[in-house]
Amino acid sequence: MSSTRDSVAAEGFTPPGPGVFNLPPIFGDTANLFTKPQFQLVIAAGLVFSFFYITSRRTALVPSKAQYMGEQAYGFVRNSIARDVIGSRDFMKFVPWLVATFFFILVNNLFGVVPFIQFPTFSRASFAYGLAALVWLLYNGIGVYKHGFFGYIKHATVPGGIKGPILLLIIPLEFASNILVRPATLALRLFANMFAGHLLLVLFTLGGEYLLLHSDNALYKPVGIIAFILAIAISFLEILVQFLQAYVFTLLTAIYVSGALAEEH
């Protein structure tokens, strides 16, 4: 048994690592001018725009099937994220941002399981950082706009219900948590989920291919088929994760905005 294991190891199946995320540029050479994930971002923006443009182009009192789909998609984010979290007074201003964010992330994530694309855009961390930076600007900007600069700093760093000298110790902690850690966790959560999911799929697929085609031992071939079946099962799990991550990102954006708008703690 140990000899077969050694022979497999000697043949050298190299498990996929972070290297699988370094795709070659589509054009442009060393400067990496244009890569597949960048292309996907543009495609996703185009898809989301077209979907809402087409479904809302001819609106009628009795909606067509397309209009109905568009309204359902829009209504989901508008009602179950924006209105529930931000509250009925202020939420309409933020609905376009939230709807765009949700569907942009959703489409980019789903690229991870769409055949022949099969790469979740936000498994490249910089894109997630960029998105989180936009959210950071949004909720801090809203807060400063609403409370004034120093008013917002106080709002974001002084928790309600705590008094006395311990406040001096709490304020830097609140500042770090609300202003510095938030955007980092927002980006990392999205990035890490997409990264891990893609790596898992690549591992099961490449491992299955290796066991099925390149292994000397005939007993390993059925295991390769099982690995393929598992890869398909994991793809469905990934669809769930991809949807949830888009939802969570949008939900947290709404929560941060709502926190910045709140009158008092």
Partner: protein
């Protein structure tokens, strides 16, 4: 369902996580800087533990009051 603005969900389940990371990072950073300044090596762990303890205190305080 929080049409009433007074009763918004404080909602973000990641708040305690943010406090813990923020506390450890900030007070750990202070400890690290003091270590470099005073040429010692025990202030970084003390800062880390202090930050985490403070974060826990804050989490308990806020969530028990709520």
């Amino acid at each position: 369902m929080s049409d009433n603005p007074e009763r918004r969900p404080s909602g973000d389940p990641w708040v305690p996580f943010g406090y813990l990371v923020g506390g450890a990072a900030f007070y750990g950073g202070v400890g690290w800087l003091l270590d470099r300044w005073l040429d010692t090596s025990f202030l970084l762990p003390i800062g880390l533990l202090f930050g985490i303890a403070l974060a826990l205190y804050l989490v308990f305080k806020l969530y028990l009051n709520a």
